[in-house]
């Protein structure tokens, strides 16, 4: 190939403008591609920036170099008018196949550059990831922390789950609270109020049911760290509202008790057969819980009259009440007296460890065991409960 026949190649006169990202990196980008972004366009035309390295167009905080590359790819494709609508659509669909973190960053950057079509495209992709998915799936996709309590999840709009177990729980709970309130009025015992119960009814149910693995019925209990006791629902919910708007408080407040007491509302969505079955289950359940409790309670209370210093058995904390019930039920179901108690106690500890139920205070267990172990009327000396029990 001689020199004469070599074709003359006209160099393409592309103009470039300088842009500077938030981390200080200054680079050149093709002008017509960058002008697709309204913000850059305005900077160049109105402010006259971008012509040299010194006065580079300062891109907003949210645009880092990697994302800038993606945005420029998008602009480069779309600013060419020759593509058909179908081509553009295929390009868009391929373009948004990114991981969620990148997608969010891209949306944020496009918004700061005022590139509306790209914002719509990425928002639609994110919306597709949210629509129709369960909350767990969404949390997994976006790495959201599950830091709402069970109560907070159920209020204010009860539109989430129709699980009959939740309803069973609610109903039982309402009934229990009513009964306990009555008992409280009858007894009128001064007791120390215990530190707020860390567990809810869910744990007990799962424990009693032998950890059947009803994930729905015990939603979120395993990961919950800061769940509040259901002592005072209204107080609980109004403290969540940091804004402290009165309207919201009252709104939230009126809705949450509605949850518990509005049995009629719950019943509406069941048909009669299911309703009967659930009622029967509730009765059953309540009976199981109540079978041993009254007598035991009496004994412990009478013997505890003399030494009330460290009697932390509560009556008002309904959750802990149930906790005791469950534990003692198990213990009672096995042998009555003697060294078998130790065995069952060890088994119970084992089960606790395996099913990851929060360890109850050693002191109370010990106290109870001592109570039952020794004769019913002997007063028990309150020894130092910080040491584990020494078996005779």
């Amino acid at each position: 190939m001689s020199e004469g026949t070599m074709a003359v190649v006209k160099p393409e006169m592309k103009s470039y403008i300088w842009v500077q990202t938030a981390d200080g990196l200054i680079q050149q980008v093709e002008e017509e591609v960058a002008m697709f972004c309204p913000m850059i366009c305005r900077e160049v035309l109105q402010m006259g920036m971008g012509s040299s390295k010194n006065c580079a167009v300062a891109l907003p905080q949210r645009v880092n170099p990697a994302i800038l590359g993606l945005i420029l790819d998008y602009c480069r494709f779309h600013q060419v008018s020759g593509h058909s609508n179908k081509e553009r659509k295929t390009f868009d669909e391929k373009f948004v196949r990114l991981d969620t973190k990148k997608l969010c960053e891209l949306t944020s950057a496009a918004d700061s550059l005022q590139l509306r079509p790209l914002v719509d495209l990425t928002s639609r992709a994110l919306a597709r990831m949210i629509e129709g998915k369960t909350p767990e799936e969404i949390r997994e996709t976006f790495n959201l922390p599950d830091d709402l309590t069970e109560e907070e999840k159920l209020e204010p709009l009860r539109n989430i789950t129709d699980d009959p177990r939740i309803r069973l729980l609610n109903r039982l709970y309402a009934r229990k609270r009513r009964e306990l309130r009555e008992r409280e009025q009858l007894k009128n015992v001064e007791v120390e109020e215990e530190h707020g119960d860390e567990r809810s009814v869910d744990d007990l149910l799962s424990f009693i049911n032998g950890g059947n693995g009803d994930s729905k019925g015990v939603k979120g209990t395993k990961t919950k760290k800061k769940s509040r006791g259901r002592k005072d629902q209204l107080r609980g919910c109004s403290s969540i509202n940091e804004n402290g708007k009165h309207k919201k408080d009252s709104a939230v407040g009126t809705f949450s008790p509605k949850l518990e007491l509005d049995d009629g509302d719950i019943d509406d969505e069941l048909d009669p057969a299911m309703k009967e079955e659930l009622d029967r289950e509730v009765e059953d359940f309540a009976r199981r819980l109540n079978c041993v409790w009254p007598e035991r309670m009496q004994k412990i209370l009478t013997s505890g009259q003399e030494s009330r210093r460290r009697l932390p058995i509560p009556i008002t904390g309904t959750g802990s009440l149930k906790r005791y019930t469950a534990k003692f039920l198990l213990l009672d179901m096995t042998c009555k007296r003697g060294p078998f108690y130790f065995v069952t106690w060890m088994m119970y500890k084992l089960i606790c460890n395996v099913s990851k139920i929060h360890q109850f205070l050693v002191a109370e267990e010990v106290y109870f065991l001592k109570q039952v172990w020794t004769s019913d009327n002997d007063p028990v000396e309150m020894t130092d409960f910080s040491q584990p029990i020494q078996l005779e």
Binding site: E105, F142, N143, P145, L157
Partner: protein
């Protein structure tokens, strides 16, 4: 995670052993320091990769709103249980769209309606911030008293766009609080009853008004229209026997559909787009025959900026009624697209209307006409000499590029019209001819005639579309 655990555990064990060996020689804190940092570094890595970062919760509210408006509103509310940051993100939405998807469907319509009402009421109660757009389209909700309460709530929230579309079963009467939404820029009402109170001064910011199947007195409509000075787009559908006089100085888009007795565009100088669909019954047709005023002038006499005209069934018939008052026809110097459907080529008056329109549009680019003639009736063609004698022969459609004539049956006037167009369109590119489905035999004859016509444009392509 387990790997780092075991590593760090072994390290701790190792360091402990070392500690035991050299009890006083080494500083136990140093080993702890190394162990701690190793542990922390590993933990951080693992946290980032396994737990990941929650980026979406920190996006600005405008983006979150864009995302949440692209999913059904029920799902948007469900995001409140995702995490503590998402608890009230849904409550700041400004564009609300409620439809039948907000309630799960049951067979019992009353139950669905009850659920829908509950959902919307609770939503509005818990909503925080301004509401710019509110759309309610449901077939289950009728004149529920809750709708009045919602409208009252919205009127206090400075709502800007309001769309209410209700089912067919009953009539919803719009409450008077609707007329106190001062900041409305768009109002769409479908199937309801409207009665503006006497103290109503108008929507001063209203730009777009759509009234479909709305029961309202005619003079109130005119008052409403004249009291909205910024009105740019007007759509009136399914009105019965209206005599309407539109006075809207800023009106650009007009769409009329229904049985109109009389339409007068009094003051619409900026009108760009007109689409009219007239449903005529027998008595309205009679009324037309007796009318003396020229409909053409009344309707198209004051729209010099018109760019696109679409006339559906009976439009040309409506325009053809009345005598010309001898006024000089105005030139539609911006009219580019004309679409006239169901033009009867047997009625000379309608043909005159069409001609008058296109002859006064110097920059006409696209013409679509569909015919409603019957071959059986028009076997005898009268006034055929019109085309030779009276029709102006020196007109040219300088910019006419695309013509589409549909549903023709080979009626003589139709062929003459096509001939006329072909002769006077020097830049014509495509002429599509679609024969009527009723005609099967006469197509060959039509084609033969078409072949003979002289074409002024060298590039003209005649496509005969059969299906």
């Amino acid at each position: 995670m387990p790997l780092s655990l075991s590593l760090s555990l072994s390290l701790i064990r190792a360091s402990n052993e070392e500690e035991k060996d050299r009890r006083r020689s080494t500083n136990p804190e140093v080993s702890f320091f190394f162990v701690f940092h190793f542990w922390y570094f590993n933990l951080k890595l693992c946290m980032d990769s396994i737990l990941g970062q929650d980026v979406i919760s920190d996006l600005p509210q405008s983006i979150v709103e864009t995302i949440l408006t692209k999913i059904p509103i029920r799902d948007a509310v469900r995001t409140s249980i995702l995490s503590s940051k998402w608890r009230y993100k849904w409550a700041n939405l400004t564009h609300l769209v409620f439809d039948d998807r907000c309630s799960s469907l049951y067979n019992d319509k009353g139950l669905v309606e009850g659920n829908l009402v509950k959902f919307i009421t609770r939503f509005l109660f818990l909503h925080d911030g301004p509401i710019h757009m509110f759309t309610l389209s449901s077939t289950y909700l009728q004149g529920s008293p809750y709708i009045d309460q919602w409208l009252l709530f919205l009127s206090r929230k400075d709502v800007k766009e309001l769309v209410i579309e209700l089912g067919d079963r009953g009539w919803f009467r719009a409450p008077t609080c609707l007329f106190s939404c001062r900041k409305l820029t768009r109002l769409e009402l479908i199937h309801c009853e409207l009665d503006p109170p006497p103290s109503f001064k108008g929507f001063l910011s209203l730009k777009c008004l759509v009234l479909q199947q709305v029961y309202i007195a005619p003079d109130k409509v005119e008052n409403l229209l004249s009291s909205c000075p910024l009105l740019e787009s007007l759509t009136l559908s399914y009105f019965d026997s209206f005599a309407l006089s539109i006075c809207a100085p800023n009106l650009k888009y007009l769409c009329l559909e229904g049985e109109f007795k009389d339409i007068r565009l009094e003051n619409t100088p900026l009108l760009i787009f007109v689409s009219v669909s007239m449903y005529m019954t027998d008595d309205t047709a009679e009324h037309f025959e007796q009318s003396t005023s020229c409909n053409f002038d009344k309707f198209l006499g004051g729209v010099p900026c018109l760019q696109r005209l679409i006339g559906y069934i009976y439009f040309t018939k409506y325009l053809s009624v009345g005598n010309e008052l001898g006024k000089l026809p105005i030139t539609y110097s911006h009219l580019k697209i004309v679409q006239l459907y169901e033009v009867s080529f047997e009625d000379m008056k309608e043909i005159l209307v069409v001609l008058r329109l296109i002859l006064n549009s110097p920059i006409l680019q696209e013409l679509q006409i569909s015919s409603s003639s019957n071959t059986s009736l028009a076997t005898e063609a009268t006034d055929l000499d019109f085309w030779e004698n009276e029709c102006p022969s020196d007109c040219t459609f300088r910019l006419l590029k695309s013509v589409k004539i549909a549903d023709i049956s080979g009626v003589p006037h139709e062929m003459e019209f096509i001939k006329f167009l072909l002769r006077n369109s020097p830049v014509l590119e495509v002429m599509s001819i679609i024969p009527s489905t009723c005609v099967t035999d006469g197509r060959i004859n039509m084609l033969i005639e078409l072949l003979r016509f002289r074409r002024a444009s060298a590039e003209a392509e005649i496509t005969f579309i059969q299906n």
